[in-house]
Amino acid sequence: MSSEVDECGSEDTIEEIACIVDRPEWSDVVPEASSESEVPVVAIDFEPEYRDIYGLLRAMIKADEKSQRALWISAEAIKLSSANYGAWDWHWRCWEACGHQPGPELRLMQEIAADNPKNYQLWNFRRRFALHRGPANAQEEMDFAADCLRVDAKNYHAWGHRHAMLQAFGLWRSELKLTSLLLEDDPFNNSAWSQRHVAFSMALSSKDADVTVAHEAAWTRDQILRAVRNQASWNYLRSLCACLAAESEPWSGPQFRAKLCNQVLAKDASCAPAWSLLVHLTFCASYIRDQSAKQHQSLLPAPVKNATAHLLR
């Protein structure tokens, strides 16, 4: 098998190949012409390679040939047009049929990710590939996604890949660390906050939980104070308190949040997320019973104060 890979030139790039259809290993294959796209005459230099490679790929699909050379030609087709879902699908079938060697696949995905890390087909393939290989290679998967996040820390596909791996292999606990690192670097990263929400919920509900809402709320407060107009961190604080039934805890309850709002508003009197939370707290039934609500109510802008006055009587 490996000698066939070499003959097919798995390390070649299309620039190094004058004419693939003339190579001996393809002498028995007639490229399958396209029914429509080859009709117009195309003047661009790399079009003949495109035509040849896709012609050979179509011939492989037509003959239902899931061989090493079919694996190779489908990889070349993907490199030329990386969003072509048909080429990826045939590539997967060949990979399954040819003994699942991971090396060339890892290199192919690296190459495609470097070119376009937001390619849907790449990530679909990667997820199938990773789930097929199982938990022994989970770290490699987490690293691949983390590398993509170093280029774009909000890449939805990379987060989705980590999510799928964490879910499949039960690794959520380790995710708090990555989100801490990313958020300390950039507190505006809403993707990291979102992932942290799941990771923290998982950690809190595990039998040997070593996290507390109070500690998390304090950490979040520190992140808010770094950048007080950041919607992402305020949203996280609200979710932390609302979703985790933390209303009665002194370190995350209404007093804690109102104090933070006042602290922020003292420095930045028109900070919208702080006002938004303060208004919310004023409306919140459990808080209205607290007499200190009246103090905060006096801070609200006049129209809001008038509209909410009856709630505090």
């Binding site: 079009e47 495109y50 989705g160 799928a164 505006f188 809403n190």
Partner: protein
């Protein structure tokens, strides 16, 4: 980039130029881009034609050729490919039906086969995969529900389970992601709100919380972004606005500022609209920009239905198999 006070030639919607831009793109079959985009051309055709309809230029295109091309793209499994020799995918199956609906030719489609294909993609948990390879995404739930609605077969799939899956993707901020626990994203929010509307299940979302999240997508430029602390992009003019429109909260954003942002993203010379000011225009953003303006009632544009993503007149001609935006307005009081 905040639009300047004086938008110059871009103060107007340059409809004739946009129509010419789309037509030129469709007819330029001799460049590499034409090859490289072949696998998703069905969606490109839908974006282009719907934009042309909204600006009153649908007749510029060759209807018979397009209809025949769409019919050729249906495969034995009942689904449609991105073009005739690409495998079936739910994405292109919906685009194909939308194109046929625009031309009022849905009756030419073998509906039973399409419905069987769509229904075969539903998973035991109510979700949908996009193709036989099993990628799960809330986009596909919306697509499946809309395919069934367009073909007057709303009960061909388990709508209740589909809605329950969507609800399981709801996040703490009121938004929705691609799968349970994934970050809220305005594009996914559009598909989830549309799906819940089609499944008569809008009660499964928190209207005020979600609409607050959606209206916070407006930045100082007037444009909308897709997630907190990201840059604005014209495509969210459709994704955020359609969801706000379905939920009766269009007035929660500054529509004048958004209108000016979209107009500023026009290419005043070649036509077309880009993602951000002074970027390269493309058919995708041209459609979403015009569709956003249409939702805001921009003068001279045909109105678009936020659930079906098709002109309101076209949706009204379909038999009332599923709730359109107009039939739901009583559920969405503006306060």
């Amino acid at each position: 980039m905040v639009p300047p006070e004086d938008l110059g030639p871009r103060a107007e919607l340059l409809t004739a130029k946009h129509a010419a831009f789309i037509k030129k793109f469709a007819e330029n079959t001799s460049n590499f881009e034409y090859f490289a985009t072949e696998h998703f051309r069905m969606s490109g055709v839908y974006w282009g034609l719907t934009a042309l309809y909204l600006v009153g230029h649908l007749d510029d295109m060759d209807e018979d050729a397009i209809v025949n091309w769409v019919l050729e793209s249906q495969h034995a499994d009942g689904g449609f490919g991105g073009s005739p020799r690409h495998d079936s995918h739910l994405l292109y199956t919906l685009s194909a039906l939308q194109v046929m609906a625009l031309y009022q030719k849905l009756h030419l489609i073998d509906a039973d086969k399409v419905i069987a294909y769509v229904a075969s993609m539903q998973q035991p948990d109510g979700s949908f995969s996009g193709d036989e390879w099993g990628e799960i995404d809330t986009r596909f739930t919306y697509i499946a529900l809309l395919c069934c609605a367009l073909l007057q077969r709303p009960d061909a799939i388990d709508r209740q389970k589909a809605a329950a899956y969507i609800a399981s993707c709801r996040n703490f901020d009121g938004g929705f992601g691609a799968r349970p626990g994934m970050e809220s994203h305005a594009g996914q929010v559009f598909t989830c709100v549309g799906a819940l509307a089609l499944a008569d299940s809008l009660h499964l979302l928190d209207r005020d919380l979600l609409c607050w999240w959606l209206c916070e997508r407006q930045t100082d430029t007037g444009g909308l972004n897709g997630r907190p602390e990201k840059r604005e992009d014209v495509c969210y003019s459709w994704w955020c606005l359609s969801a706000l429109s379905i939920l009766g909260r269009l007035h929660w954003i500054d529509q004048d500022a958004l209108t000016r942002y979209i107009l500023f993203c026009q290419d005043e010379e070649e036509g077309g609209i880009s993602d951000q000011p002074e970027d390269m225009a493309d058919v995708f953003h041209t459609f979403f920009g015009i569709a956003g303006l249409s939702l805001m009632g921009f003068p001279g544009l045909e109105s678009i239905d936020p659930i079906f993503a098709l002109p309101t007149k076209i949706v009204q001609q379909l038999k009332p198999a599923a709730p359109s935006a107009s039939s739901q307005s009583s559920e969405a009081p503006d306060v």
